[in-house]
Structure formats: structure tokens, C-alpha cells
């Protein structure tokens, strides 16, 4: 069964949002459920630091052996860091989606947008858990 940590926020497109020590910066990745559906991840294409995205904009793509999927920005913001380690080890997305498999750290433009995300219960419901 897919792991849906209670302390994270989610989107319907299977991204998660984790708050960090710096309140204005969030960590974004894809959920355990999403990595399971994709299968073995072989490549993640991520933006450079400084790139800005609107809410819902495509910030990157993720490729598995037989599937490719766009990554959607859960909230508007500016990328402060992207996970360079995924270049060498894309499998980290499969192993630890909420840990080493994170994708970008984003400086949130409008904190209010965070409130519009799904909580764990709502996301679980969406994936039919």
C-alpha cells in the first residue's frame, strides 16, 4: 500500500509539498503512489535554480521505462534548488520519494496557495486507498 504521510500536502497530480525549516521554502516531489504507478524511474528532467513557475505549470518531466509524465508545480514560486543527485541516481524517486527522491525546493510566492492543497486524507481518498 502506498505511503501517504500525514504531515504533507498533496495535489491531484500526485505531487507532494513538504514544508522546510524556512517557512517560505517548500520541498516538492512525487508521491509514493505515483512512483509505484510509474515503475522504475530512469530520468528526471528538472529546472535550474531561479526558474519561476505559475501554479499548475509544468516544471519538469519524469521518465520511467515505459511512461513519461509531466511534473506540475503545486503552487507558484521560484526554484531555489533542484535535486542534482537524481541525475546520477533517478532510482531514489522509487526508493525514497519523500526523502532523497525530492525534486525541487521552491520559494513560495503566495502562502495562501498552500492552503488550497489536499491534505493526506483527501489525497488518500483520491487514490482510492
Amino acid at each position: 500500500m502506498a505511503n501517504v504521510p500525514a504531515d504533507l500536502s498533496y495535489t491531484a497530480e500526485h505531487e507532494y509539498v513538504k514544508t522546510t525549516g524556512d517557512g517560505s521554502v517548500v520541498q516538492i516531489g512525487i508521491t509514493d503512489y505515483a512512483q509505484g504507478e510509474l515503475g522504475d524511474v530512469v530520468y528526471v528532467d528538472l529546472p535550474k535554480a531561479g526558474a519561476t513557475f505559475a501554479k499548475g505549470a509544468v516544471f519538469g518531466t519524469i521518465e520511467a521505462v515505459k511512461a513519461v509524465s509531466d511534473l506540475y508545480c503545486p503552487v507558484a514560486g521560484t526554484v531555489v534548488e533542484s535535486n542534482g543527485a537524481l541525475e546520477q541516481d533517478p532510482a531514489a524517486v522509487n526508493r525514497e520519494p519523500y526523502g532523497g527522491g525530492w525534486m525541487i525546493k521552491l520559494k513560495v510566492k503566495d502562502q495562501a496557495e498552500l492552503k488550497g492543497l489536499l491534505n493526506a486524507a483527501a489525497y488518500e481518498k483520491q487514490i482510492g486507498k
Partner: protein, 962 residues
């Protein structure tokens, strides 16, 4: 006893050879399906309102012998001149061992694209050799396993350039005026469709401003000149633009390769490595680029991975680049490759090796230099001082006119270049005696004022000092080990034996139509009268081809119910692209150029949306209902919503789900009512021939996959042909050609490098139609559908049929729902597919059009005994799944999860599985008699994609078997 007059016609009828089930078996199969007659069954399958209720207006069936006699007569109307025209095509010598054992060998030509890697290691190795050859010769890191022709490869280079440079807006692109004219035309057509601005000019005048995405140069140029593009590449890179070079593999054995002077991409035609000219094709185009751009590489890439036991194993890599996954986000729509021809070209390199190929190149260059020297002494000017195998001879108008006429008298074709210049391109088949002939032509009937030996002594290399190749190539042992014919023959056989082709078993791939490729159909392909004609030879030398094209076009028009047919598109994807451009040209001609919205059902093949985007259209997806049919309400709503911009609907019929949708007429009407045109994907035409016609029930354009319905073999992943048929109102917009004008008034542009795509394989489709005739073509269609329904019925109770049309019947293919077994037994569709390999079959199509399912298409050519053997295998596999479901077999370690089982595992000293070796190896009685063994166990796809290696790995890696 009297002699019955009916006994005087030869009893052998082609249809009884082409069709698998005999009349008794047909009766038995009908009984299982539940119908008293074939006609009653067909009436129940196809909606009444689209039925064709008259015979096709085609000739009657001819015997194999008669058809060959007609083809002989057509071939005799082609004249094989010595063609020194060049322009990307050169006559060559196919090593006979390769000709007979690859090109003419059903073990190679009847295989499918190597999606099932475990039973395709042979051609995967041949294709890896091809990639290694291309990568070495071009000096670039990654190469693909072939594209359709040089023109479309150059267009793909432009698309890669656009994707990799990632400008806002489509950008501008330079093309070298020294590119082959057909290449320029194809690239222009592709550029216009997506709004890229192209300027054709001398490379010295290229400027790279913001918005310039890159350029294409020809190296050596179409007139044979060799330019140093180093500073151009520097200039381009300084501005963030990319440089593509269209080039020639033979020249690159002597010239500094593009990768070493700064090109980012190299493309070209590998035809001269042993592939016949064929009046334009089929040939394999190559494409190589830098590692940095590998994720934008179009077409199929073969990569090295490993199997479960850690043994090296090959497979198609990075499939997520491809249109079937990326759909409207793909940067290329290319699907079919030219595998058979790529294998041929790679084997030419394997057989000759680097030394042999270099000597061939040096000889051609030497002869060209001698000819140039002779021309100078005869008072002509040589257009370009630096050349490899092609020169331009310049003289006054009267002289040049006489040269061309004199050449013709000696049955030599030169390249006319205006009134005062003529091009001469030499090739591997040319000898000193030919050069002497040419010198005599240049001497205009006067005795030669020199001896050939004097010319030989005086001729000098014309390759610029700064562009002489110094780097090694083809260093891998595979290019050094097969010099004797005995070794070569065994290498070819060894590879062939690793692969499953139609020579061993049924290949029930849904949507692929793996029917018989009859020997009689194949025999003419390699006749010199079809094989050795240059695509740009004067048309009066190809009268046989002209007649064959005309007849085939007429027959295909009759079969589809259309007014005109264009044979130019080289594959289904190109047919789609061409058809959509025809529609755009039509709208433009009616002042409706804003019509660019293309409706595509969810269930469409991924190539459809990719083609639409490349044709400059916006894709709007139409929903599919629970039965897998187009959701008519959603279609109506979307057509209404987009009525101001509606260009077309792309629809596959019968649907990709293998069902005749009853509402197809209505669907076409809805689209027409909103000003759109209907594009029909003809991939499933094998369910229509003789029974219904797209042109009758509302389609405006349709492509045909001649490599499906009309018997061109799949060649292990190409060649293909994708001609399009159009209704009368679109005929003016069909493709044209810059070198061989086809008389189209408002053409949509140029789709392929050759005016008629790949002519040398057209006798195959011609022969099929001629031998089946109007009587037997509909029989084939009916039996294709009967066989599919027979399979569906026999598997009932074991596998659920995902979709069916009216009366619970399907068309010519069926989707088996294998998704429930994931829950019930932990078995995935992949496990079932690989276990089918253990039973000696090629698996059906996996996960298309619905993820997690199998799609089975038996075709009309499989005998009932083979259909039964296949059904028995699937039922036996279902029972193996039941063992897991009941807990009798282990959920993790079972016959399915460990499949396929190669001999190396079955015969190992150690065997740790809970089931017997025997059950794994010989799951059915038939497999004891014969089967193709997988040569590796299941290949790890993720490993290969994470660690991409797409050239031959060092030989030691084969020794470190885990």
C-alpha cells in the same frame, strides 16, 4: 472417360496458399463462433450501412506463375543505365552472402520490430553494429538504428535542433544551398508546417542571431565539393545554435568526420553500403548526435542492458522518447524504421571491415581524380577543386549538350546542372573501363589525346589537407572477424537463429497484421531491373515502374474508394503527416488557413497526435466510451466548440480496440458539418478490404500500411510504406517532388526524399493484389476476422474480452484483459507475454491500446492448427496462473515471473525453482518438436535506460557472464 474442361486449368490457386484455414476448417471455426456461413458471420460483424455490396473493380486472380510473368515483363521495360547522378544515391555491390542470407531471407525479413528483446537478440546485435558503425564514421557519440530516408532524417535534425535549443517561438533555420534538392524540399515542408523560418543560402553567408536555432550543411556537398565547416560550427555554437551535417558514410572513411569538426548532428543515407538503389528506396537513413541530446534523438535506439542473470542483453532503449508514449508532446512522429536495410548496411561493414571499406573509398576517389584529370586535359573546367567521388564538369553550352547526349548513347546517366555544367558521381561499381568510357564521352567522339596510364600517373588526391581523416573507426572485433564467406555465413545464421520470425511461429501482434509475405511477392524485389535504377534516372528508363505505380495506385484507389493515391509516404507515420498536410493545404486554398484544430480520440495510436503536432495542428482529445468507442456526444460537443478552427478528425477504423463502430457514418457527418475533414488511419485496413471502403462512408483521406494489409514484410522493423488515398477534392494537394515533378497544382509539399517513396518493394503489394484478385481479396478479410473471433471464442472463460462490437463480435483483432491477474496472482501482463515465449510464440501486442492488456491479431494466413496451438498455449498459461491463485504455485517464484527460460538457465547445474525444468522448457507437446529458444532471460529495462550504452561494448563484457 471424358476430360472435364475445368481440369485443364492449373489447380494451384494463390489464395489457397495465402489463406491459412481450408474450407473444412472454416466450417469448423464458424461452428465455434456460432454462425452457419461466412457471409452470415460477416453480416453480423460489419455495420450494414457501410457495407460495399458490389465486387471490387479489380482484375481476376492470377496464378503465382502468371503474376511473375507480368512482373518480368514490367521489369523488362525498365532500363538499367550506369547512373552517375549521385545526389545521395550510389550504385553499390551487395555482397552475395548478405543478399541471399539477409535481404532475400524470410528469417530476417519476416520478423517484427524487436519489442520482445529476448527473442530478438540477433537483429538487435546487427542493429547495435549499425549504430556503432554510424557513430564511429560520423565521430558522434550516439546513433539510432535508422530513419526512413536522408530528407526526413534532415527534417528530424531540425526538429531536434528546435527542441534542444528551446527558443521562444519556432525560430529560424539555415540550409546550405549545397544540400541535395530533395533534402531541402523535405525540410522546408516540415519547417513550414510548424512555423520555422528557413533560409537557403551559401554557408559563408549564414549569420546566427537570437532566434536562429541552427543550420544544415551538406558534407560533401551535392555537387561533390568539400568545405571546411569548422569556423561555421564555432560561429553557430557561439550563438547557441546547433549544426547538422548531411553526409556520406563512405566519404567519412577518408574525411574528418562531422563530430570532429564541431557538428552536433550527422544524418545521411547508408544505402551505398550494399543496399540496392531501388529507384529511391527502401534504404536506411542514419542519425547520430552528441550524448547531450540523446533524449531528443528520434527513432529507435538499441541499448545494452543485462538480463536477470546479469548476462549482457540488448533491447530498445529510451522508449519514452518515442511518439507511442509521448503522443502530442513528441518531437518526432517516426515509428517504423528501416531495419532490414540497416542490417544489410551494417553487414556490409562487418564483411569488408575498416580496411576493406577504406580501400573501396580510396578506389572510388582515385577513379574520380583520374576522371577529373582527363576532363581538364580535354579542355573542361572542374567546378570544385576539393572532392571525394563527385565532380562538376564545366564547358560551353554546345559541348555540354553533346556530352549529355553522348553519355546517353553509352547508356550512362549524368546529372544535368544547367546548360554549361554536368555532375558526375562515381561509385563502387565503377571501374577503369567506365572512366575510359566517360573520358570518351567528354572527348566528343575524337580519339583520346592521352593514355589512361598518363592520367593515373598525374591524378592527385583532391581531399583537402586539413580534412584528411586521422581517427580510427570500426575498431570493434565484430568488424574484423568475418572476412571469409564461411565465417560471414555462420555469423548471419547465428544471429538469425536467435530471433523469432514468421518462419518459426505465428506472430499474433495486434495492430501489426503479421500475415504471409509470399515468396512470389518477394522474388522481384532484388531483380536488377527494379533494384539498380537511380531515383532520378530519366523517367523514360523506368517505364516498367511507371506502369506498376499506375496500376497499383488505381487498385489502391478502388480498394479504398478514393479518387487518387500518392505512393510517396515511406511509412504510416509519414502517411499521416502527408494526409494532414493535404488537409491543411485544402483549407488554405479555401481561405481557411486558421483551421488547425485536430480532434483525436483517446484510443488513437500515439503516432496520430505526434503527426498532428508536426503538421502544425493543435490536438483536442475526444473521449472514448465504456465500450471503447468514440463518445459521440463528446465528439459533437468538441466539434461544436472548435467549429471555427476545426481542421480534421483522425480516426482509426475499425477502431484501435478492434471493433467496427456502428456510428462511423454519423461521426464523419458531424465533422464535415463543422467544416472539418476526416483523416482515417488505415492501420486496420485488413478488416475492410473488399467489404467496405473508407471513401464510401465519409473519410476524405486515408493512409494504407502496405507493410500490414498488402504483404510488404516487416523486415524486423522496416521497411514500410504509407501511401495515402484522397477524395477528389483533395487530389490537387498531394505531395510533389522538386527533382521529379509529379504534376500536382497546389501541392502540400514534399514528404519523402524519393518521389514514390520506396519503389522496389511495391512489386510485393502489386503481386498480392494481382494474385488474390477481386475474388479472393475479400476472402482474406473475412478469414482475418473469423480467425480473430475464433480465438476470442476459444479463450472465453479463460480471459475476458475487453471490448466487442454488436453481437459480441470483434473485427480482426481482440484485446484480452489480463489486468485482474495482478490482484489474483501477482501476475503482470509482461509475465504472460514472456511466458508465451516459452511456448514458442511471439507474444501479442503488450499494453496497446490499453495498458495491462494483450491485443491479438491472427491474420488470415495462420492455419487453424496454429491458431489452436496458440489458444492451447494461452489456456495452459491461464492454468498456470490458476495454480498461483489457488496457492499451489509460489506467488514470487513461478513459471510466469521467471519467464522466459533460456537454455543457459535450464541446463545450469543448479536449479532452485519450485517447478521442474521440464515444465519450464517444454510446456506443450509442440515445443518438444520445435521452438525458438530465448537466448537471454528477462532483460532489465530500467538498468539499460539508466546506463545508456548504444555502441558495441568491449568484447570482454561478454565474457563476464554472471
Amino acid at each position: 472417360m471424358a476430360i472435364a474442361s475445368s481440369s485443364l486449368t492449373h489447380p494451384d490457386r494463390f489464395a489457397s496458399r495465402h489463406l491459412g484455414p481450408d474450407p473444412d476448417e472454416v466450417r469448423d471455426m464458424l461452428k465455434v463462433v456460432g454462425y452457419g456461413s461466412l457471409d452470415a458471420f460477416i453480416d453480423a460483424v460489419i455495420p450494414e450501412d457501410i457495407r460495399l455490396r458490389k465486387p471490387l473493380n479489380l482484375p481476376g486472380a492470377r496464378s503465382e506463375r502468371e503474376a511473375l510473368a507480368v512482373l518480368r515483363a514490367l521489369a523488362a521495360k525498365n532500363q538499367v543505365f550506369r547512373s552517375y547522378i549521385g545526389m545521395g544515391y550510389a550504385d553499390c555491390i551487395t555482397p552475395p552472402v548478405v543478399l541471399r542470407n539477409v535481404l532475400e531471407n524470410p528469417g530476417w525479413y519476416t520478423a517484427y520490430t524487436p519489442y520482445q528483446a529476448e527473442i530478438a537478440q540477433g537483429r538487435l546485435e546487427a542493429l547495435l553494429n549499425y549504430q556503432t558503425m554510424v557513430s564511429d564514421l560520423t565521430g558522434l557519440e550516439v546513433a539510432n538504428a535508422s530513419l526512413l530516408d536522408e530528407g526526413t532524417a534532415a527534417a528530424e535534425a531540425m526538429h531536434l535542433t528546435a527542441a534542444a535549443t528551446n527558443h521562444d517561438g519556432p525560430g529560424t533555420y539555415w540550409i546550405d544551398i549545397g544540400c541535395h534538392p530533395q533534402t531541402i524540399a523535405v525540410v522546408r515542408t516540415r519547417a513550414e508546417a510548424v512555423g520555422i523560418q528557413v533560409t537557403v543560402a551559401d554557408p559563408k553567408s549564414f549569420t546566427f542571431k537570437p532566434g536562429t536555432i541552427g543550420c544544415l550543411v551538406q558534407y560533401p556537398g551535392t555537387e561533390g565539393d568539400i568545405q571546411d565547416f569548422r569556423s561555421l560550427a564555432e560561429k553557430a555554437h557561439g550563438a547557441g545554435a546547433l549544426v547538422s551535417a548531411a553526409t556520406d558514410l563512405l566519404a567519412l572513411t577518408l574525411l574528418t568526420p562531422p563530430g570532429e569538426w564541431g557538428a552536433d548532428i550527422a544524418v545521411g543515407n547508408s544505402q551505398r553500403f550494399g543496399v540496392p538503389l531501388g529507384y529511391g528506396g527502401p534504404h536506411a537513413a542514419f542519425f547520430a548526435t552528441k550524448d547531450a541530446f540523446k533524449r531528443h534523438l528520434p527513432g529507435r535506439i538499441i541499448g545494452v542492458s543485462k538480463d536477470r542473470a546479469g548476462r549482457p542483453g540488448l533491447r530498445m532503449a529510451l522508449q519514452t522518447r518515442e511518439q507511442h508514449i509521448r503522443r502530442e508532446k513528441a518531437t518526432s512522429n517516426v515509428c517504423t524504421a528501416q531495419v532490414l536495410l540497416a542490417v544489410t548496411a551494417s553487414m556490409y561493414a562487418v564483411y569488408h571491415g575498416p580496411e576493406g571499406i577504406k580501400k573501396i573509398a580510396e578506389r572510388v576517389h582515385g577513379l574520380t581524380a583520374i576522371l577529373a584529370e582527363g576532363a581538364r586535359r580535354l579542355g573542361y573546367k572542374i567546378g570544385h577543386a576539393a572532392f571525394f567521388d563527385t565532380i562538376v564538369i564545366e564547358g560551353d553550352e554546345a559541348k555540354i549538350k553533346e556530352v549529355v547526349a553522348g553519355a546517353k548513347r553509352r547508356r550512362i546517366n549524368l546529372r544535368p546542372l544547367g546548360a554549361t555544367r554536368v555532375g558526375v558521381a562515381l561509385d563502387e561499381t565503377v571501374g577503369l573501363e567506365d572512366v575510359e568510357d566517360l573520358a570518351q564521352v567528354l572527348a566528343l567522339g575524337k580519339p583520346l589525346p592521352f593514355k589512361l596510364d598518363d592520367l593515373i600517373a598525374a591524378a592527385k588526391s583532391a581531399i583537402p589537407q586539413g580534412l584528411i581523416r586521422t581517427s580510427p573507426y570500426l575498431t570493434h572485433p565484430v568488424f574484423h572477424r568475418h572476412r571469409s564467406e564461411t565465417e560471414m555465413l555462420r555469423y548471419l545464421k547465428q544471429l538469425e537463429d536467435r530471433d523469432l520470425s514468421l518462419t518459426s511461429a505465428m506472430i499474433p501482434l495486434g495492430s501489426c497484421t503479421m500475415k504471409l509475405n509470399a515468396t512470389t511477392e518477394m522474388i522481384p524485389v532484388t531483380w536488377p531491373e527494379f533494384g539498380r535504377i537511380h531515383p532520378f534516372a530519366p523517367r523514360d528508363q523506368a517505364q516498367g515502374y511507371t506502369d506498376l505505380f499506375r496500376q497499383l495506385e488505381e487498385w489502391l484507389a478502388e480498394i479504398t474508394g478514393f479518387s487518387r493515391v500518392s505512393l510517396q509516404p515511406n511509412a504510416g507515420s509519414q502517411g499521416e503527416f502527408a494526409g494532414l498536410l493535404v488537409i491543411r493545404a485544402y483549407h488554405r486554398a479555401h481561405g481557411q488557413s486558421h483551421r488547425t484544430t485536430c480532434l483525436i480520440p483517446q484510443s488513437a495510436h500515439g503516432t496520430n497526435p505526434a503527426s498532428a503536432v508536426l503538421a502544425g495542428m493543435n490536438v483536442v482529445v475526444v473521449k472514448t466510451d465504456a465500450q471503447g468507442n468514440i463518445d459521440v456526444a463528446d465528439l459533437t460537443a468538441k466539434a461544436e466548440e472548435h467549429k471555427d478552427t476545426l481542421a480534421a478528425l483522425m480516426v482509426t477504423y475499425p477502431s484501435t480496440h478492434g471493433v467496427f463502430e456502428a456510428s462511423i457514418r454519423e461521426i464523419c457527418k458531424i465533422v464535415h458539418a463543422q467544416g472539418g475533414q476526416v483523416y482515417m488511419d488505415g492501420a486496420n485496413m485488413n478488416a475492410q478490404v473488399g467489404l467496405c471502403r473508407p471513401g464510401d462512408f465519409g473519410a476524405d483521406v486515408c493512409h494504407l500500411n502496405l507493410h500490414k494489409t498488402f504483404c510488404i514484410p516487416h523486415g524486423g522493423g522496416g521497411p514500410g510504406m504509407g501511401p495515402i488515398g484522397v477524395a477528389a477534392h483533395l487530389a490537387n494537394h498531394l505531395p510533389d517532388h522538386p527533382v521529379v515533378p509529379l504534376g500536382v497544382s497546389e501541392s502540400c509539399g514534399t514528404i519523402s526524399a524519393g518521389p514514390w517513396g520506396s519503389p522496389s518493394i511495391l512489386p510485393i503489394s502489386w503481386a498480392y493484389i494481382a494474385m488474390m484478385g477481386k475474388e479472393d481479396l475479400p476472402e482474406a478479410t473475412k478469414l482475418a476476422m473469423l480467425s480473430a473471433n475464433y480465438i476470442a471464442r476459444r479463450l472465453a472463460g479463460h480471459y475476458d474480452l475487453l471490448y466487442a462490437g454488436k453481437n459480441g463480435l470483434i473485427a480482426h483483432e481482440c484485446i484480452l484483459d489480463t489486468r485482474p491477474f495482478k490482484q489474483s496472482a501477482g501476475v503482470e501482463v509482461e509475465d504472460i507475454a514472456k511466458r508465451i515465449i516459452d511456448y514458442g510464440f511471439h507474444p501479442p501486442t503488450v499494453s496497446f491500446p490499453v495498458a495491462g492488456t494483450l491485443m491479438v491479431e491472427p491474420t488470415e494466413s495462420e492455419p487453424k492448427v496454429e491458431l489452436d496451438r496458440f489458444c492451447d498455449a494461452l489456456i495452459a498459461i491461464r492454468n498456470e496462473i490458476r495454480e498461483i491463485e489457488r496457492g499451489e504455485a509460489d506467488r514470487e517464484d513461478n513459471l510466469l515471473t521467471n519467464s522466459p527460460h533460456p537454455l543457459a538457465d535450464l541446463l545450469a547445474d543448479e536449479w532452485k525453482h519450485p517447478y521442474s525444468r521440464e515444465r519450464a522448457a517444454f510446456p506443450s507437446a509442440a515445443t518438444r518438436a520445435h521452438k525458438v529458444w530465448p537466448t537471454v532471460s528477462r532483460i532489465d529495462g530500467a538498468y539499460g535506460d539508466r546506463n545508456l550504452v548504444c555502441t558495441c561494448p568491449p568484447i570482454e563484457s561478454y565474457a563476464t557472464v554472471g
